[in-house]
């Protein structure tokens, strides 16, 4: 039988879950930023669009890089309870 998850977790576990949350939020944030150009269609030049898109792109890569450092460790030492609701 699985014991019910604790409602609150220790500091380390808390940090771990928030990093996973961040990994989940990142693509949503990315999508939001990449769809943003739809709002300013026609304003500014194409080269601004180029710089904006590639900057967002690079930012996503850097964020994913730092998250992956933590998450790789997480995959190596999985913590059994994976309850998103617990905080």
């Amino acid at each position: 039988m699985r014991s019910p998850h604790p409602l609150f977790v220790a500091r380390h576990g808390y940090r771990r879950r928030r990093i996973i949350d961040a990994a989940r939020v990142l693509p949503l944030l990315g999508a939001f930023l990449l769809f943003l150009p739809l709002l300013w269609v026609g304003e500014g030049g194409t080269h601004i669009g180029v710089v904006y898109l590639f900057a967002i792109w690079a930012g996503l890569i850097v964020a994913a890089f730092f998250l992956s450092l933590y998450l790789r460790h997480e995959l190596a030492n999985p913590d059994p309870p994976q309850d998103e609701e617990a905080g």
């Binding site: 039988m1 990994a23 949503l28 990315g30 990449l34 269609v41 194409t46 669009g49 180029v50």
Partner: protein, 899 residues
Amino acid sequence: MLTFNLLVFVCVLYVALLFLVAFAAEKRAEQGRLGWLRSPTVYTLSLSIYCTAWTFYGAVGYAARSGLEFVTIYLGPTLVMVGWWWVVRKLVRIGRTQRITSIADLISSRYGKSNLLGVIVTVMAVIGSTPYIALQLQSVTLSFAVFASDRPEGWAVPDLNSTAVWVAAGLALFTILFGTRNLDANERHHGVVTAIALEAVVKLVALLAVGIFVVWGVAAGPSDMLSRIEASPIADWQLNGGRWATLIFLSAAAFLCLPRMFQVLVVENSDERHVATASWAFPLYVFLMSLFVMPIAVAGLSELPAGTNPDLFVLTVPLLFDQEGLAMLSFLGGFSSATSMVIVAAIALSTMVSNHIVMPIWLSARRGGASMSGDVRNVVLRSRRVSIGAVLALGYFYYRFSGGGEALAAIGLISFTGVAQILPALLGGIFWRGASRVGAALGLVIGFAVWGYTMFLPSFGESYVMSAGLLSEGPWGFGWLRPRALFGIEGIDPLVHAVFWSMSLNVIAFVLGSLASFPGPLERLQSAQFVNVDDHSASARGWSGGAAEAEDLLVMAQRIIGAEEAQALFQTEARAQGKYGYLPDTTPDFIRTLERELSGSVGAATAHAMMGQIVGGASVSVQDLMAVADETAQMLEYSSQLEAKSAELTRTARQLREANEKLTELSVQKDAFLSQISHELRTPMTSIRAFSEILMERGEVRPEELTRYSSIIHDEAIRLTRLLDDLLDLSVLENGQVSLNWQKGGLHDVLDRAVAATGSMPAERPLTIHRDAAAETVTLTTDTDRLRQVFINLIANARKYCDAEKPELRIEVRRRGAVVQVDFIDNGTGIPKKSQNLIFEKFSRLTDQAAAGGAGLGLAISREIMVKLGGQVGYLPGQGGAAFRVTLPLTQPQTDAAE
């Protein structure tokens, strides 16, 4: 000077290098030295087959035609990889635990191992991939043609079609050599993966080199390049919101659903942690690939004459500036992009075709014959080789039929939209337990049909499948069915139109079908395993060869047909093979026998799935299936066992508590008994010692004193003897060692003798005994001596303890059926109620009258005697005095005879 021969020579050299690398990697893997072959770097580079010739050549063309829109094709996959924790991680985990071999296998396995779904997805994948493969052939052919057409010096212009044929044949050869060495797709194609990793490096380096040349060689650095972009026709491009969103969605969907991407992303993955690395490294790769697309497009548009095919700017720009080495590198980059994609796509598609189309047909064709011979592996491998050839042939024919004239990007998007139809079934399958086979099949078929009608068939051009009239008027004049304006909604971009309608109708059909249908047990089991993969992943075990495999089979078989039967089956088989123990070699014969046995218990489909595992075929092993069922069953069994045990423990505890109470009580009784008996023995002993000391010490004792003292000593000695006799008697009676002398006798006689025996006793007051002679004429079978002993005891008690002024004893005899009651009732004060239970205990004397003369064992002995005689003696309250009732049977009890 670049000559065609040199070009072909370099090409052949490059292909030879690829063969060599693949061969070396396979050798290394065979020796078990996997090392970097399974590194996250190789994994990430293998993902780069997403960047095909379409990226290498087509992206620049796309940028030249539609400006920034080309990046959407790379932004979608970037979002998917950055959000790998959502989908890719789960897919990889499912792929590993369920030993998924392809995307068709995933869908089929998820929806109850439905072969129908496997076939649908396979067909969709083959049709959807065909334009894509054609695109690669087209780009390679075009790149060859560049070197021919731009050179007026006149080396013979190669026949484009024959070039395409040669390229297709070479690719087929490579794929067959390195892609069909292993049967189990999960054993992974190390050679192929290493080769495409190398190709990934080549194409990246080539594109970067051209880009750097353009930015710093043609333009004067990045800022100059940005101003050139602003000045070029590309700047006129207007962002189309619908297309922008649609393309990002479409590329994200295709990244997950393309058979070749699924192959490298999930099937070839050896470690989940590699995905973590790829989550940023793959976006970085496509970022670098896209970085110089815009500059190359701008340079091509400004420097090259109008009308030049923008899809080939990557080649033609270096050639324009006489950078022949760069052009050659660029050519190899394009060649790499095309070949790696075709190789992996062919492997993925051939696995799907052989597992979901050829094998089921082959198996059903064999069903009639009882025997399944051992050439399953050969059948699979042969079918895969043929499939590879067929897939490439299809690509070639599409290239020929579509005329080879379309922009590369347009062809690629047709493919993307086709395979994206799998997305609802895929995501629904891994996140929604309620997704059902009916829903998935409906969604897939409807989505695919809409895609075919609105996008795929029109792509052949107006002359082939669809007439111009049909396109503009709709079939049979139904305007609302026009392929590019479904339901009469016009003015939408054709791509957005096709994606929108196919995906919406797909999702609606999928959801409604799932809601309305009821899945079978296997399907529900699978849905639980897929959706809750994180809960089950711990039990993932790979199939290794030899004894371990036989052991896995035994474990599985034991669960299905029972431990004894399975062991017997395995033992018999092992003995037939001349081996000892329970683990036979897993010969085809044995597997066949086992499958037959298993199918008797769990049905043919499941048993077949197990077989499929062994032949490297489809789906899920029964072991994994049973794991879920087993877990529940074990849990139930365990909890019921616990309940039973707990009840048993409670019962035992209660018994123990009772036993403990009894023991404590007995211990108290024993202590009391011991102290009583010591006391009883010491009293006469003390007086005997005292008087004998007087006699010894005093020299002159008067004769009367002598007589008195010695008579006291004698009396006390008698009392001691009687006590010891009583104790002995009681002990004999209690231990059941007494032998009774059963005989016929009259109750009257027994009473007479008892009264006579007590009559001689000294008494303070004479006891009057009332008897009824008539009632006493009862003849019974008993031990008359023992019975008399009881009567004597009772009469003596009355004589001793009756405290009335004129003691009287009534002896009443009454017959009650087969028993006779003898009551002894005196006229004394009786026995207090609280003591009535105690009087039959040993040494219980209510008063310490000196007259007692006994040790208080009389009633205890009487009770024991009456039990032996089959009767009882008890106190009879409420008779005006002390009353005892003796109940005894008229005849000898049957049970006593046995004692």
